[in-house]
Amino acid sequence: MLPCFKPFGLQTTGSLLYRTAVDATVSPPRPRGWHRFANPGQFLRLAARVTPPVAWAGGILTAVGLFWGLFIAPADWQQGNAVRIMYLHVPSAWLASAGYMALAACAVASLVWRHPLADLAAVEIGPVGAAFAALCLVTGSLWGRPTWGTYWVWDARLTSMLVLFFLYLGHIALIRAFDDPQRGYRAASILALIGVVDLPIIHFSVQWWNTLHQGNSISLTSAPKMYIGMLAPLMVSALGFTLLFAALVLARLSAAVMERRTRAVLLAEVRSA
């Protein structure tokens, strides 16, 4: 039996009453695993402890990776120094895709378990993921100018990243479009799931349509086709970006939880006055 979740606002105002009423009869089963963090207090305590080290580690790793990539790593024999934009471009591309996967995971958690944190996380991941998608598009366009001789080509990867950016925008707009936030969470969850099914199809069809972008240099299944002196800083900066992404989402999530609490407290004051 899954623990019963109360919406955040109610829980903060009514928690004292709720606790005493329940204690008088039978103590409720202790939620286990990640369901514990449906309790906003639990989540806030954890986030307060985790966010600063993640943010620091992410910042330092990003700085090291970018410095290494921009100043120490060798220039490409063909592209020259223009290749250095890769250390910014590739991590943002990876995070833009990973962010959408995270949205889909939140959608599952929201639809299956009604996990309140997943709903809030979906609200907060959207803009961060969209920002990384935009960063990827901008850096890619700046990279294209010296290497391909043009800011934009209708190449498969560029186009599918552009479509991904639009998918993010649709999700961001939909989740905020309802007066009843719960309705927005449900609708946006369904949209995220449709999107995640459609993404590979979009990717495949766009690839069939046109390809100019270079093929994969890194894959999980084969040895990387890349010099280790360039691969290492790329990995460091990708890890740094990922941690920064996590820290950003955690900080936004904590802020959203606290905002809800504040609103609930203010509402309670208005009601009692």
Binding site: L111, V163, F166, L167, L169, G170, A173, L174, A177, F178, D179, D180, R183, G184, R186, A187, I190, L191, L193, I194, G195, V197, D198, I201, I202, F204, S205, V206, W208, W209
Partner: protein
């Protein structure tokens, strides 16, 4: 009961024909603007014709989506539809059928004359029509899912293009690829088959997603 409800949808659609006619007119006017925009050179028009028709059909199919559930949600008949005994996914299939019959099919019929006006050759013409048949069906299904998502939203009509168009890019790409292949005497079966595959994928999943969205909306 499905047939009765579908008949009701069609009767309502024909009595308020303005929505469907507006979409059709939009389609014809937009396609007519392209020769004015890019110049009347026949070779160019014959080349871009299928693409223009696909894009215009995509945009026109979105126009009536706002009212697909909107009118029913406002006067409460959506609640009655969901209580009628049909599962929510069945209601979604009903709406998708109605949308295709009232918008998709007229668009399909209108694209014939428009393609002739663009001077599209017979081979790409046939492939264009063959692609538009599953294409408009997929658009109706995707559009129904998106329309179900925005029931009750503020500015739902503005949201719809942002939701549907990115999801519909594969349909557009496959449809135009097939017509382009037919124009250049390349094999065109594969993109058409992919369109069929997209239809086979959308036919069960879009109504399910739309049904889930509808259940949340009431």
């Amino acid at each position: 009961m499905f047939a009765d409800l579908l008949r009701r949808e069609l009767r309502l659609g024909l009595r308020h024909a303005a929505d469907s006619v507006a979409a059709l007119l939009f389609f014809v006017v937009v396609t007519a603007l392209f020769p004015l925009g890019v110049g009347p050179e026949p070779k160019l028009l014959a080349r871009i014709g299928p693409g223009v028709i696909w894009v215009a059909a995509l945009l026109a199919a979105i126009l009536p989506l706002d009212r697909l559930f909107g009118a029913d949600a406002e006067d409460g008949s959506l609640d009655l539809l969901l209580l009628s005994g049909l599962p929510p996914a069945g209601v979604a299939i009903l709406k998708a059928c109605a949308h295709w019959l009232l918008t998709g099919l007229p668009l399909l019929l209108a694209s014939g004359p428009v393609a002739i006006m663009f001077g599209v050759e017979p081979a790409p013409f046939a492939v264009l029509m063959l692609g538009l048949l599953p294409g408009t069906l997929v658009l109706s299904l995707l559009g129904t899912a998106a329309a179900a998502l925005v029931v009750g939203a503020r500015r739902g009509g503005v949201l719809l293009p942002l939701l549907v168009l990115p999801l519909a890019t594969p349909v557009l790409i496959m449809g135009t690829l097939a017509a382009e292949a037919a124009r250049t005497d390349a094999p065109y079966a594969a993109p058409l088959l992919v369109l069929g595959a997209l239809l086979a994928l959308c036919a069960p999943f879009c109504p399910l997603a739309a049904g889930a969205a509808l259940r949340q909306s009431v």
